[in-house]
């Protein structure tokens, strides 16, 4: 909640973006939209930033509150080492500078769900400095968004206003929970970019295991800082729209605020620096407080906590243990496995998908006794094609998939060794989806094995050719298309089980020979 953090002038890196299109047409000419995001990410940890209380979601109100969280007299904060580790990990994942010296400060304001009367946060000296995220845009372009800073802070409790006609209730379960505030530079120009930024940030946090990224439960929420200007001009006055807890809301909020500001300016009005609150139900925002009403937070270093000094060796250890992140994984899928950029992008976007895919190719390669790179493209097509299609239709995530990676690998193996044709394999896939049985059992039960036996197929081909002298004449007269018709007849006769390659070979030999 550093309200001044994104008020800074655009960095050098962003000035080049001001001419890269993305202009919005107004009645009086084009406008450029300048967007920065402040994201609050709840850190995955068993206990709070400065107390040992638990942090699980959905507990009974005030069941996870220590004496420190309730700000009882004489209670003192003790920094949770896990929080520091998670912040450093995240900073490294965002290609950012880790500040070995950082300071916790108090941000003072009164609210009923803020027991201490101040929030412990980092202000002038955050734990993580500048970094960046690369966004993959739909047009295949990559856009770099720079990170201004990341700092640690406590969450507040929750006020509940709808349980009593005149009273409010306070739930302090969230009081003191660890948040990372991640502030971008004003590097985005459209709602899509803002959404893409948050999607990518979420993906990185989930790969790192530092935030579960659950936007519905409020583990990840964003504030949008937005201003408009004529191309090439100085930055306009910005507003901050708070508490956007879905990608859709971010896009909506950007669009609504862009329109509001442009309309205002084109009517000769002025944008007022203010904090606005977005209402997901109406898709509109309303003013919460103006700059004049803004709090004077009287930040000062928290005298209950010593400055945080980290050891470079410890940071290096964390760095060495970082997991492979989406960008690196995508590059590996493309380079090592020959996946298309598009498919690789889809497969790495969610950590669970990537994990599923990696398990799938490992099992499939082993089953087919082939190197991974020979099975990877086929596996990728199965996941992004049939599996995603079926999951979407059923409204399931990949973690909830009725088909495990083992099961799907069993199917792919049968396709790879020629037991099943591609078409039959799809049929088996749906049978597996419905029954939960392994591929081989279904193939066995339904007698779906591909017929590759030359002898058996020759007999069928002989029959069909003999029964259709007219078509045989046409072929011999030079009409090659009739070959396809013959294949179709043979597939029909074998209920699709004939190996099309073998059928083609026999058919040509028969027709050409006589």
């Amino acid at each position: 909640m550093t309200e001044s953090a994104t008020a800074t002038a655009p960095s050098d890196s962003t000035s080049s973006h001001s001419t890269t299109g993305h202009l919005v047409k107004g009645k009086t000419g084009p406008w450029e939209v300048v967007i920065g995001l402040e994201v609050h990410a709840q850190v995955v940890s068993h206990s709070k930033l400065f107390s040992g209380a638990a942090t699980a979601f959905g507990a009974e109100p005030n069941a996870q509150v220590s004496l420190v969280d309730a700000a009882m007299p004489g209670m003192l904060p003790v920094l949770n080492r896990v929080a520091v580790e998670q912040a450093v990990k995240t900073g490294l994942g965002l290609n950012a500078r880790i500040n070995l010296h950082s300071v916790f400060e108090r941000k003072n304001y009164f609210y009923a769900d803020l027991p201490q009367g101040y929030q412990i946060s980092q202000y002038l000296q955050p734990i993580v400095g500048e970094g960046y995220i690369d966004l993959d845009l739909p047009d295949g372009e990559t856009r770099r968004v720079e990170i201004e800073r990341l700092h640690l802070e406590q969450d507040a409790g929750k006020s509940i206003h709808d349980q009593h006609p005149s009273k409010s209730y306070i739930d302090l379960n969230r009081s003191g929970v660890i948040l990372m505030e991640i502030v971008s530079k004003p590097d985005m120009r459209t709602g899509e970019e803002a959404a893409a930024y948050l999607r990518k940030l979420r993906s990185i946090l989930r790969y790192l295991g530092t935030c579960d990224g659950n936007m519905e439960q409020g583990s990840l929420r964003a504030d949008v800082n937005l201003s408009v200007r004529r191309p090439g001009e100085a930055l306009g006055t910005r507003t901050e729209t708070k508490n956007l807890n879905s990608l859709r809301f971010i896009q909506q909020a950007v669009e609504a605020e862009t329109k509001r500001q442009i309309d205002l300016l084109e009517k000769g009005g002025q944008v007022v620096q203010e904090t606005r609150l977005f209402d997901g139900a109406t898709g509109k925002s309303r003013s919460m407080r103006s700059k004049e009403e803004a709090h004077d937070y009287r930040y000062f270093p928290d005298p209950d906590l010593l400055p945080l000094d980290l050891d470079q060796g410890w940071v290096d250890e964390i760095k060495a243990a970082l997991p492979e992140l989406p960008d690196a994984k995508k590059a590996r899928f493309e380079d090592a496995f020959g996946l298309s950029a598009y498919n690789a992008g889809i497969l790495v976007a969610e950590k669970e998908t990537a994990d599923y895919f990696e398990a799938l190719i490992a099992i499939a390669a082993e089953g087919a006794k082939r190197p991974k790179e020979e099975v990877a493209v086929k596996c990728g097509n199965w996941v992004t094609g049939e599996l995603f299609g079926a999951l979407n239709k059923a409204g399931l995530t990949i973690d909830e998939s009725p088909l495990s990676a083992e099961a799907l690998a069993g199917l792919i193996k049968l396709e790879l060794d020629g037991t099943l044709s591609g078409r039959i394999a799809k049929e088996v896939f749906f049978a597996m989806w419905d029954t939960g049985k392994p591929a081989e059992a279904i193939v066995e039960e339904k007698g779906l094995k591909q017929i590759s036996d030359t002898g058996a197929l020759e007999a069928i081909v002989d029959d069909i050719v003999a029964q259709n002298p007219e078509q045989t004449e046409q072929y011999r007269g030079g009409n090659q298309k009739v070959l396809g018709w013959f294949v179709g007849q043979i597939m029909k006769a074998t209920k699709g089980q004939a190996n099309p390659g073998v059928v083609n070979k026999i058919l040509r030999a028969k027709l050409d020979a006589d």
């Binding site: 007299p73 004489g74 003192l76 003072n108 009164f110 009287r298 000062f300 209950d304």
Partner: protein
Amino acid sequence: MSEITRLSLSQARDRLQAGELSSKELTEEMIAAVTAARPLNAFITETPERALEMAQASDARRAAGEEVGVLEGLPIAIKDLFCTQGVLTTAGSHILDGFHPTYESTVTANLWRAGAVMLGKTNLDEFAMGSSNMTSYYGNVINPWRRRDDDTPLVPGGSSGGSAAAVAARCAFGATGTDTGGSIRQPGAFAGIVGMKPTYGRCSRWGVVAFASSLDQAGPMTRTVRDAAIMLEAMAGYDPKDSTSVNRPVPSYEAAMTGDIRGLKVGIPKEYRVEGMPEAIEALWHQGMEWLKAAGAQPVDISLPHTKYALPTYYIVAPAEASSNLARYDGVRYGLRVPADSLDEMYEMTRGEGFGAEVKRRVLIGTYVLSAGYYDAYYNKARRVRTLIAQDFAKAFEEVDVILTPTAPSAAFGMGEKMDDPVAMYLNDVFTVPASLAGLPGISVPGGLSPEGLPLGLQLITGAFEEEKLFRAAGVLETAAGFEALPKFLAGE
């Protein structure tokens, strides 16, 4: 039976060890003395039942041959700034009405573990803000001392005035105090007892109601230096629940009192010669140096050039932290709540009624100095000056072992005096505040009487965590001073 209450803590300990007295007997005597001392208003809460239970438990431990603590069976008083489980804890403020902590402060828990017996909770300036004990919601404490031929009631100093009065009036063998800018040492001097503030970080602040976090430090208030050494040994220690507490072993401070200070270099800072200081205090300071010299110490004239900025620096830093520390008293979760129609109004009414004038003054000052536009001129500058003051001491301690100064620029004053002039009141802390800002240990030892017959204190300061040296020098000073005078009011006599 005043013979028992007049014992020092270490004498009482020896009698207990020798089996000549039981803790129950000691405690019963002291409970009677606490009752007799009620006119002083030194206690906010008396806990006689708990005291007797603890005493009997102590006697049982001793009888069973169990290992006993350094304060085994000794009844003491606790400043009502320490949270004590199940016992009303007020900080001298209306805003903590009815607050019974569910937890025990680390320092008091350490004391009980060492075998001490709790007599009750002593009165103090509201939230430890004051030098006279006039700001307590529970009424002012009266100093057991009187001027010669003058019955004007005097203040006991502050903020640990109730603890000072209780120890001086012989209704506790010792008491805990807390010192932010002099709140142990100045009342110690005003009441003719020993008041000791350890190095910042030596005693845990966990469970002590916070005034100014970067300055607050608990310490013992006793009748002798040896008693203070024994008591600190029990109070001190590393506490992982306080991030500013320091992890180093607690030595035997009593054992450090060898009486040998030959070759000790004693710094006399020229900046502590302030204008208008009574001649008797100047003379006592000189006498103190002579006493130490006679014991083999060597005087060294030193300079602490930033001393004159210490008081204004303190009165920026301490209120700034206090304004934030006291934000939690909002009527939402505990203590006083004055109902109102809106949240903001409830805050205003609760804090308006719950805080006294001095607390409000400091919250306002603190809020002001942290405000946008004033922050650099006040708070940031004060922080820089604080560093310079600490550097003054660091430089001085390259040359000397201890520094000797008067504890306060005057003897105890009359109730109501200086009340209309906060700055005059703040001047009481002029000699104690610099060591607080530097986080250094200091001790006030009774040195003699003013011409009006009131006790005057001498202060010794050492480098950080040099408490052993401090107790050694203070013990020698105490012996040389031979302070035997007794206050006019002695409990039960």
